[in-house]
């Protein structure tokens, strides 16, 4: 796989350096770490919000640092949870008297990292709350696992929590609404091709030309089962049916829809998927209040997509509509 790199081992630091240079008015990198923070952090009087995880999900997570979303985004090595020392540095830099909310994707490494970070925060007297996002319905049926993965729906939780914090919500208020949104968000994804890690000569798995992986996470891993390639309509319906029954959506409900590209899927195909999503939801009497189509939480150069639905009420609609100014999500 051809890639535009210098030294593969430096991919993450060089990417972060590029991001903070490209968006120097909004974000900066904490010296000696891979933690990207709001340029104006700590923001006095506001609950700070920290998220993060492995790299390779660009624009997640640093792309969502800024007004109305995150105060800090932690970046680990590709697909690996960030170092605890970086997380501590971000915590110390961003924490305010109002406290800090952690937004965590349900993966073992991320859970463990934020768990240890919470303990450190407690020792420092910083009030914190944590929201764990576990929106992937693909593996819901399997017992004895660490539970559902947190995937693209996490971006919507960043938006909701960030808006409430920007509006002056207390830690408890920010936590409550983020928790509500996390319990109302569901996702499922599909891969058409695997991804290749920087410096690796082999893709993460192999697929025949006519094969796809259904039920993928966001770490280039294989899904829960392999199927033949099928038309966008069938594929979209298959994913949506799984999502819709998981959180009973009813006729008359309003939702936010995120059709997320995994890194190498043309917008043409993502919009074809969205067209099918709209038609299908319309047939069920479900209204799309807000649509997001593009690359929000990727797996390097994997081809494929995920569909996320977030059930909405008046409060969540207001927060989704609240302005934000970050490198990769700008809304006035």
């Amino acid at each position: 796989m051809k890639k535009i790199l210098n030294v593969p081992q430096n991919a993450v630091p060089e990417m972060l350096a590029g991001m903070v240079k490209a968006h120097s008015g909004l974000i900066t990198l904490l010296s000696g770490t891979q933690a990207v923070v709001r340029k104006d952090a700590p923001v006095k009087g506001k609950v700070a919000i920290i998220s993060g995880g492995g790299s390779g999900h660009e624009p997640a997570h640093a792309g969502y640092v800024g007004r109305g979303m995150l105060d800090a985004a932690l970046a680990g090595a590709v697909f690996a949870a960030p170092p605890l020392d970086d997380a501590l540095a971000a915590l110390k830099h961003c924490a305010t008297e109002q406290g800090v909310l952690f937004i965590i994707k349900n993966y073992t490494g991320d859970r463990l990292l934020f768990d240890m970070l919470s303990e450190e925060a407690e020792d420092m007297g910083i009030p914190t709350r944590s929201v764990v996002v576990a929106d992937d319905v693909a593996i819901a049926e399997r017992e004895g696992t660490p539970g559902r993965r947190g995937v693209a729906g996490t971006v919507l939780i960043h938006k909701i929590a960030g808006a409430r914090a920007d509006l002056g919500g207390s830690l408890e208020e920010v936590y409550q609404v983020a928790q509500k949104a996390a319990s109302w968000v569901r996702s499922m994804g599909v891969a058409l091709s695997p991804c290749t890690l920087p410096g690796s000569t082999q893709p993460s798995f192999t697929l025949d030309e006519d094969q796809i992986e259904i039920g993928i996470g966001i770490h280039g891993e294989a899904g829960v089962r392999r199927e033949k390639l099928q038309p966008a309509r069938e594929l979209t319906q298959k994913l949506l049916e799984k999502i819709l029954v998981d959180l009973p959506y009813q006729a008359g409900d309003e939702v936010a829809v995120l059709v997320n590209g995994m890194g190498s899927t043309p917008l043409m195909e993502l919009y074809i998927v969205f067209n099918e999503v709209e038609t299908f939801l319309h047939s069920k009497g479900i209204t799309i209040y807000k649509a997001l189509v593009g690359e929000y939480m990727t797996s390097l150069d994997m081809a494929g997509f995920s569909i996320t639905l977030l059930k909405l009420d008046a409060e969540l609609k207001e927060l989704l509509d609240h302005p934000c100014l970050t490198p990769c999500w700008v809304q006035s």
Partner: protein, 215 residues
């Protein structure tokens, strides 16, 4: 047993070297069921941790071990370094109270390392994680000491039990960690975390016997 600061440092150096030598092997194992970076993440964390403790001015070797564990957990990416760092830190903390000089306290320190990992991660034997290597190793170590064997012999038993535990993960479907999402599809592949534990115990054993044969 003479386990001063210099000896412990050479054990740590041996561990760092072992992980570095096995970086690609561990990545390879991880590529099937995880994200192909376990070896690289661990290597980076161990090397950083060694640099850190080399500059520390500590008096007790036990403190060196604790700081090494803290640095592995603090500077590494991913759950591998976090869990292994946590385990080393827990062992170091136990030894800080009881001293490194007697085999029985080393036994308790290994037990503390195991309990720390199990408490944080919630994994049990059979879940296809590093616990599959660490728990039988701790048990074998305890048994060896009880039957009057030397520390080096006990480590020999421990690494052998870890090796068997590591190999047993091939037949398992993952229940914790990244491999769990593959479930039955991961059967046939050895767990990289369990492999690291075996390699580290093997390395400790090699360091101890090297010392005994070349005093």
């Amino acid at each position: 047993m003479n386990c001063g600061k210099a000896n412990l440092m050479s054990i740590l150096q041996g561990m760092v070297q072992t992980i570095a030598e096995n970086e690609q092997h561990l990545n390879q194992l991880d590529s099937v069921i995880g994200d192909a970076e376990h070896g690289s993440n661990l290597k980076q964390a161990f090397e950083k941790a060694l640099c850190k403790v080399e500059t520390l001015n500590v008096e007790q070797p036990e403190e060196l071990l604790t700081e090494f564990g803290k640095a592995v957990a603090g500077s590494g990416c991913g759950s591998g370094p976090l869990f292994i760092g946590l385990a080393i830190k827990a062992a170091g903390r136990y030894l800080l109270q009881s001293g490194l000089q007697n085999p029985s306290s080393i036994k308790e320190a290994l037990r503390a390392a195991l309990e720390a990992v199990k408490e944080k991660g919630g994994a049990q034997v059979g879940d296809k994680t590093l616990v599959d290597a660490l728990e039988p190793a701790v048990q074998a170590f305890e048994k060896a000491l009880q039957s009057g064997q030397s520390l080096a012999e006990a480590f020999a038993q421990a690494r052998e039990a870890a090796r068997e535990g590591m190999l047993s993960t091939k037949d398992l479907a993952g229940k914790r960690g990244r491999a769990s999402y593959l479930g039955e599809r991961g059967v046939g592949y050895q767990d990289p975390g369990a492999t690291s534990i075996y390699l580290l115990l093997e390395s400790v054993y090699q360091s101890l016997t090297r010392k005994e044969s070349n005093p």
